[in-house]
């Protein structure tokens, strides 16, 4: 990859992250943002209002960091899954993690509504859902890709109906809107507390995927062929599934269901840097971070009321991907 592409890939998420700190209904001067951030490290006498400081440090900064982590995590997971399943239509929820995690959250919202419990229930059920998919798909000590996909469809459908059931019995005055709104995805609950729980998970999962990024190329040639090239395919697939599931479940548990990133970013990444996972995986990390921070900034600035992220990622993403697909005629460049 050319040096200029590397610089752009690093710079874009950083610039967008910075922009997200001064945009919003409460305007803060771009330079003031820099000085507020620096005042944490250097002794700078504040000439800004207390509310500016609170908004930048306590509200926008954690939200921006969370958006970047969630976006990066969902994007790298999607790229790893598309490689492993050798299919461009695959996204992070192929094994049912999103539906299961969504059901966990819906259930917790129904019974308590405590934010931490919602997060925990969502994360735990996300892991359990994929565990179930894996068990169903396991035949003769192997997990053929087709079996994984079909089991994923089954498990996702099962948990989707449970989500509907939860909505059906939820009190339409207060519980139902909470469940519905949560499922549409939002980062408005961002805080340093959930950053501290989620970022390590996303970080570890992404590190795991980055470690196996070259063998993923070999796996993308097919299970039999990868085995004949000395790849322990079952082990590699489990590593990918575990990392991706931890990332996605952690992301969903704090942000709700944010679709499209895991499907779209890997496509766009491949168009820019090619299919080699050695380069593609780090690229999607940067692009995912940039994309979600951009979308989240739009979500909270373009209308007086915040637009749910799940809606905006697809409203912005779908036409963009459609345009790219038309331009490349479906070619996997």
């Amino acid at each position: 990859m050319s040096r200029i592409k590397v610089v752009i890939l690093i710079a874009v998420p950083l610039v967008l992250g910075y922009v997200s700190l001064f945009l919003g209904r409460y305007g803060v001067e771009p330079l003031t943002v820099v000085r507020i951030l620096l005042s944490k490290i250097f002794p700078i006498t504040p000439d800004w209002s207390r509310s500016a400081q609170t908004i930048v440090l306590e509200i926008r900064l954690p939200r921006t960091l969370l958006a970047m982590s969630v976006g990066a995590g969902l994007a790298i997971s999607g790229a790893a899954y598309q490689g492993m399943f050798r299919n461009p239509l695959v996204s992070t929820d192929i094994l049912g993690v999103s539906s299961a995690a969504g059901f966990g959250a819906a259930l917790a919202l129904l019974f308590s509504g405590n934010a931490l419990e919602v997060q925990l229930a969502s994360f735990a059920l996300g892991l359990a859902g994929v565990g179930l998919t894996y068990l169903i798909a396991r035949v003769y000590k192997t997990t053929p890709v087709l079996m994984l996909v079909l089991s994923g469809v089954v498990v996702a459908a099962f948990f989707s109906s449970l989500i509907s059931a939860t909505k059906y019995i939820a009190d339409p005055d207060n519980k139902l809107p909470a469940v519905t709104y949560w499922l549409l995805g939002s980062l408005s609950g961002a805080s340093y507390k959930n950053l501290a729980t989620v970022v390590p998970m996303i970080g570890l999962g992404s590190a795991g995927l980055l470690l196996v990024r070259w063998p993923l190329n070999v796996l993308a040639m097919g299970d039999d062929e990868a085995r004949s090239l000395g790849i322990r395919t079952e082990l590699l697939k489990s590593v990918v599934i575990v990392c991706t599931t931890v990332i996605t479940a952690a992301a969903v548990s704090v942000s709700g269901l944010i679709g499209w990133i895991g499907l779209m970013i890997p496509h766009v990444g491949r168009m820019i840097v090619g299919p080699n996972h050695n380069v593609l995986l780090p690229t999607t990390l940067a692009m995912g971070a940039a994309y979600l921070v951009l979308i989240d900034t739009l979500a909270r600035t373009i209308t007086p009321q915040e637009i749910p992220l799940g809606i905006l990622t697809s409203v912005v993403g779908a036409p963009f991907l459609a345009y790219l697909l038309r331009r490349t005629k479906g070619g996997w460049k």
Binding site: P88, N217, A220, S228
Partner: protein, 263 residues
Amino acid sequence: MEPRISLRGGAFRYDKRDIFSDLDLDVHPGEVLCILGPNGCGKTTLLRCLSGALKLGKGTVWLEGVDISTLNVVELAKRIGFLFQEHTTSFPFSVLEVVRMGRAPYLGLFGSPSETDTELALAALERVGMLPIKNKPYTQISGGERQLVLLARTLAQEPEVILFDEPTSHLDFRNQALSLEMIRKLSKNQISMIMTTHNPNHALLLPDKVALMKSGKFVAIGKSSEVITEDNLREIYGIEVRVFTVSDPQGGGTLKLCSPWFR
């Protein structure tokens, strides 16, 4: 001389049906064995058992005195290369990247190819004459080129034995010839090769050894010029066949060829 790879009493059952049984074979360093037989005779299953991908029901595959069922996938991949017949990939990896995958057995789960691995991959491409297309997307090259690129990938594995599943089946006349020539060339480097084929003439062009297979048994195994006879071919294919000895009009010696014979 010790055989490089041998099979003793090999048998494989699937769904309570014998795919093959009681097979013995030996291939020495630098020798090429062609397995010839009709569709469904068990050739491909036999090849997959020899590669260690499938476990024999009975019998043992010996690789230089070691029972291959005791070797793990990494050890197998360092010593046995396999060229698949059916092959699909949706990602347009570059040709060089595909060949570098041949280094996978030496890299481990978290590995990624080094400078040396890249050099070995380039050398392998050079050997099969595909170096000029190293940067082309693998999905956009011709079937013949693809076969040679996959052969280069197998060479990058540095195996002692290469197994080919019908290496010429999708190729045109020229590329069939190039592939066979390449196999002959490789045998001079002490690599042992076993290939399945549908074309008896290909076995005659690779003069070492041929096994004629029918319904999971070897009808005959031995030097190709001795084993490929009208009687044997009639037995395995059930059609009338003639074997000709032709001499090169330009004085390059004689060659045996066969053809179906229509009355």
